[in-house]
Symmetry: C2
Subunit: 108 residues, 2 copies
């Protein structure tokens, strides 16, 4: 089980990564994250939807209403160029973080 405190810095990256592949909506993204992590990480709904709000406010994603539905109306999200740029930047940062954190673990 992965705690939310250690994933905190990567929620946006995960969301942007999934949206870079195809447009999606909250419930689906939540399922995808859960599945991709082999059930080790489950992003809380409130965390996910508040991330959407934040990313949209900063112009990284855009929303539109979906037509098909299996329940309540879906809100789809699409990544923007700014979002793609942020994603690339976060990927670079991630590889730096890996290098740094690993140094603290392996030297023990």
């Amino acid at each position: 089980m992965i705690g939310s405190d250690v994933m905190r810095g990567y929620n946006d990256l995960m969301i942007l990564s999934l949206l870079a592949q195809e447009d999606s909506y909250g419930y689906e993204i939540s399922k995808k994250i859960r599945k991709k992590s082999d059930d080790t990480y489950i992003m809380k709904e409130t965390t996910l939807y508040s991330a959407f709000t934040r990313l949209e406010k900063t112009g990284c994603i855009e929303s539109y209403s979906g037509t098909e539905t299996n329940g309540k109306q879906r809100t789809y999200y699409r990544i923007t160029d700014a979002g793609r740029a942020l994603f690339q930047q976060k990927c670079g940062e991630w590889s730096l973080v890996k290098t740094v954190v690993d140094k603290f673990i392996h030297s023990v």
Copy 2:
């Protein structure tokens, strides 16, 4: 440059890792982190000292006053068994996080 938001989950791990090697104090730990990260990550003083307070409150580290000084009086910290256990647990979590986050990056 690594932003503090992405390191947030690893500050405790870094501190515990350094204290697992030898007792130390704030200013020194701050320098060590900076150096080990090749100046890519600089932990703010307030962040560092508040981490000490938290880790001491939870019994992961213990403090004592140092005798030698090059300025203001130092407060040294020593890791406890509970701290070592937490460190081991965080290391396991870190390897899980690496696996998961990498999946989101490489699939793009």
